[in-house]
Symmetry: C2
Subunit: 646 residues, 2 copies
């Protein structure tokens, strides 16, 4: 197999279209807002304490530790987003802010390299005594990701070097050798971060530590049990069906058959596993990654790319269990699935990874942020009844409107870093092949085996169904452009300079091989009708229902357009949809209209609960469908994705 590798972030510039709007929102709104949050500068929301903790730990100010044990991670995510933004274009003011943050972070580092404000402030004697729940390695992972991105953007290695010292300390204390703790993190994250570090340092120690965390996880004797006994830590899931499966640590990762436990943790673990599997070619790990990928996407994923069926433990439950109204579907879990998909794309050339990535990006990820970029969902339900959220605690976690910020602020900075780096997800290369996974207005310049290739992509995808690839420069020998044909697309046409082109199809990619010329213009024309999807009949909640899609975009019905009691609405399977691009609708979107019918309430005696069954009577109605990710940007109310259809 030819090695598939990422383009560096600086090789892809977003130039316009759908993702540029979101990138700009992150750059202009989210990152400055987040900086204020990290510095407790936003009145009316609970303080973050994140930067304050570093300053207290560094002795720069008096105070106590504030926030969650994983508060350090927030600035890691923020720096990572800043790094991605700076890769796209310089911004001296922003760089200055980041440097000042790095000053504060590095100032807190201890002489032996240790750098975690919770333990520095509360007592270093307890450090590394609760890997299971206290997120030290998780925080290190996020700081590492931030440091790597910032180094790649700016060449500045101050934080990177500091963290390498911290990693050295960790490797001295934790590892397979006798005398070290045979531990691993309760919340995975450091595994994939170490692999990013390794990609820069090429230091085998960094790869080795990542592998150790993955290999040791879930092996008997269980480190978490040992640690809990030794240090008297709380055993949160002892009386739960989870046990250590909450942490994906109930059995060795290579033996895990199903995605289990906390969904975000699972996604981060699988991403790290895939990094290691791709790097080492370890076939048992490759098998585990594929098996877990298949379980997630073929048996435990919502149609929006959301994962995590239950609020209990924010977790996976079991195959085909996908309730729409008690769902958890954390934004971070969909983001994690993007990480996983991106890494699987390096394991093999197969369009399914791009399909899932695209599904997450256009639906379950960006539903987490409001149109104006200032409020966020943790939980992304597929069915919402405001009264249930208010009055039944089992559905209390289903928020009807996005919130400004959260006590546990994982999702907003996670969206920010993903959207700031979204161009990194669009392309890969492999010898003399460039792979186009996503259709994104962008300018690409990279080096293939035989020389430089440069092209522009122009498209108003996903609203428009045509994608242009204009070649700016190309090697003088043959090369391949491999274009992912989305799984939802049944017919497409490929032309070069107006003429049909010969292409091969390989695992869902159309492969055009030729000597490309400057000014060559490839045109991809994807049939993009509105379609209805149905779920596997094993999915209890979706039997007798359909979901409406156009291209990768899942649609929904909202009360503001369609009235109350969305559960009474039916749609015929052969109904026709009218599509219209509305440039004024929340930044512009294709909206749909169709006929529908609503189970009549008029014949019922007021108040009566049950009666002898009759032939159902329906009222004809017009339905207005909007992209799912745009829900809850107008009047709060009911929302539904899966609509009844006989």
């Amino acid at each position: 197999m030819k090695k598939i590798s990422d383009l560096s972030a600086k090789e892809v510039m977003i130039t316009g279209g759908f993702w540029k709007v979101l990138f700009d929102k992150v750059k202009s709104q989210v990152i400055p807002y987040q900086w204020k949050v990290l510095n407790d500068d936003i009145p009316g929301i609970p303080p973050s304490y994140c930067m304050s903790n570093f300053r207290v730990a560094a002795g720069k100010k008096e105070g106590e530790f504030g926030g969650c044990v994983f508060q350090d991670s927030d600035v890691g995510k923020w720096l990572e987003a800043v790094g991605y933004v700076l890769m796209q274009s310089s911004d001296p003011g922003l760089e200055e802010l980041a440097d000042s943050a790095i000053d504060d972070i590095v100032a807190a580092q201890q002489s032996d390299g240790y750098l975690n404000t919770y333990y520095i402030i509360n007592g270093l004697d307890k450090r590394f005594t609760n890997l299971k729940d206290n997120h030290e390695l998780y925080c290190l992972g996020h700081l590492l990701e931030g440091a790597v991105a910032y180094y790649q953007a700016t060449g500045k290695d101050r934080l990177l070097n500091a963290l390498i010292r911290y990693v050295d300390l960790v490797a001295r204390l934790i590892g397979p050798e006798e005398g070290k703790k045979h531990g691993y993190p309760g919340h995975e994250e450091i595994e994939l971060a170490l692999m990013k570090l390794y990609s820069i340092t090429k230091d085998e120690k960094h790869l080795k530590l990542a592998r150790f965390f993955i290999d040791e996880r879930g092996r008997a004797p269980f480190y978490f049990r040992e640690e809990t006994g030794k240090y008297g830590n709380k055993d949160h899931w002892k009386d739960s069906p989870f046990q250590y499966n909450y942490y994906q640590a109930g059995e060795p990762v290579r033996e895990q058959q199903y995605a289990m436990g906390h969904a975000v943790r699972a996604m981060y673990l699988y991403s790290g596993m895939t990094d290691v599997a791709v790097k080492t070619g370890d076939s048992t790990l490759v098998d585990a990654c594929k098996r877990l990928w298949n379980d997630v996407i073929n048996r435990q994923m919502y149609i929006t790319g959301a994962v995590g069926s239950s609020a209990y433990g924010e977790s996976f439950t079991f195959d085909y269990d996908l309730p729409n109204d008690t769902i958890y579907a954390e934004t971070c879990a969909s983001i994690g699935l993007c990480f996983f998909a991106k890494r699987m794309m390096k394991m093999e050339c197969n369009a399914q990874y791009g399909d899932i990535l695209e599904k997450c990006l256009f639906n379950g990820v960006i539903s987490g942020m409001s149109y104006d970029g200032t409020s966020f969902f943790y939980v992304n339900p597929l069915e919402v009844v405001p009264e249930a959220s208010e009055k039944d605690y089992l559905r209390h976690h289903i928020q009807v409107t996005r919130q400004k910020w959260f006590g546990c602020a994982c999702c907003p900075p996670n969206i920010a870093r993903l959207l700031a780096s979204v161009s990194n997800y669009a392309y890969s290369k492999s010898e003399d092949r460039i792979l186009v996974h996503l259709f994104m207005e962008s300018r690409v310049k990279t080096e293939l085996k035989s020389g430089r290739i440069g092209f522009d992509i122009e498209t108003n995808y996903p609203w428009d169904n045509v994608v242009f690839i204009k070649v700016n420069e190309a090697p003088s020998s043959p090369m391949q452009i491999a274009i992912r044909i989305p799984g939802w697309c049944e017919n497409f046409e490929l032309r070069i300079n107006g003429n049909k082109v010969r292409y091969g199809l390989e695992n869902g990619y159309a492969m055009i091989e030729r000597v490309f010329q400057q000014e060559d213009k490839i045109e991809l024309d994807l049939d993009m009708p509105v379609t209805m999807a149905e779920a596997n009949p094993r999915v209890r909640e979706d039997v007798g229902k359909i979901a409406v899609m156009r291209g990768p975009v899942v649609y929904c019905l909202e009360e503001v357009d369609n009235g109350k009691d969305l559960h009474r609405i039916y749609v015929e399977r052969d109904t026709t949809f009218r599509c219209k691009y509305d440039k004024n609708f929340l930044g512009g979107a294709v909206l749909l209209e169709s006929d529908g019918k609503k189970l009549s309430q008029t014949e019922w005696e007021p108040d009566k609960l049950y009666r002898k069954a009759t032939k159902p009577e329906f009222d004809s109605i017009r339905l207005k469908w909007i992209p799912y990710y745009l829900w809850s940007n107008r009047e709060p109310g009911e929302m539904v994705v899966w609509v009844k259809s006989e």
Copy 2:
């Protein structure tokens, strides 16, 4: 309005049929088993400590308090059931056991009358400092109910007199007067118990105390807030949407518009309110009872007579919110609804109360006990998927098989006392009218204004649709027999001695007025086809579904008869049912068969989750329906009441 009153329990003997089987099961199995439980004599289940606590409190043995704060109530319920059994026929051995229990209870009484083992053992200084959560008045209520029943059965007043002293103490410490606590119980129960006591003592003090508890409840300033502050009690629902509504104490009872909070507590409160309203004629209280009744049965009740939509707080949620798979539906709550209905039947002659009573009895109540009378459900779901109960904590409370006994053992003794007294629910009288609410093989003898009436009822109801009433003696002047015509029955015939009879219809009762003769034989012939019910379209979970009923009995599908994936089954609205009485099926029951269809799984690629919607394909299947209350008596598996129907 003519006063409607109960027949005394000794005036109605169950002689055979459906309820006699259950009565005998309670007498021969449940009561002896419970006695052993109360005395910690059953190996393999957690000890109850109930009788042990009384002996420790009395100084008869060394030890500590064990079990829940409301453990005393268990023997109250047991004694009550024993009383009802003894009213039907003497049993010297059982009476001896009960006397020994009463010895232990009374021996624990303090010199001032106080009698609660939790505080006697743990410290009397804390008594009456947590009316909100520590169940002192609740326990007193259950002991009172037991004492009253035992007194009515045997004439023995030892426990009754002891408890009257305890009530006197309570009335000295709690009440409207200055210097007394203006408190009321967190778990209602004593209100209805005091009304039972009052029916014997005619002591206005007892009525007054019941009224005080009802009138003071939910009034500002809130006693619970005061008490919590004063004694530093835990405020369990402070951060919950419930607040004091969990206890039905968020506003005065006369202002409550919706059934709210813990469902069992609500039912007990409404029952006590109705007792007081009937006794006093207080019109604002009458209105509140009717309003809350209407909310419960017309907007918050399952078709089985179950109430309590959410496991969170075992509570009501909101109107038309009736999820079938995350339901709570505690057995005790359906029992409480029977109490409420029985009392509403004294408020006015209206067949709706008997309809609901019958619905609860044949469905949501007796589903709580296994066929062999040795295991019990707390929670009575209408839809069960075993894997969900096992793997998703939000559905973890949905047990798939009944349990032997419970740590908090409220339901089993509650079923026992209800089934032991079920004959008390069948009849009322009013001047020269006897009202027949339920159809139960029994012998009735009572006194009307104009003289004695005696009759036998013979029927194999609900399996058989004919009810015979054979008059044994009657007054020589005209009297009325008022027979409830069930709401589910569209056509019926009434004959006397083979001839059609003239009758009036009054609020759902057929009124036959004449001078009855010895040997008169009334025959009621109720059309009892199998019918399908549909729910109000406001009930989200039941749209596009039907429930199958025959007479008052709700049917269900079980996996053992119909295979896995019951959610894929559809039934046509015009399908015909074959009924067959199977005497060998769990004690005998009418079973149903029908055609049905099952959404096909065969066309699906294995593992695929979503695809473009197709026209649904179905496989024809035969469906076997069993009475809902008999579910989970064979192989554990899936079960569903509401079945898809287009």
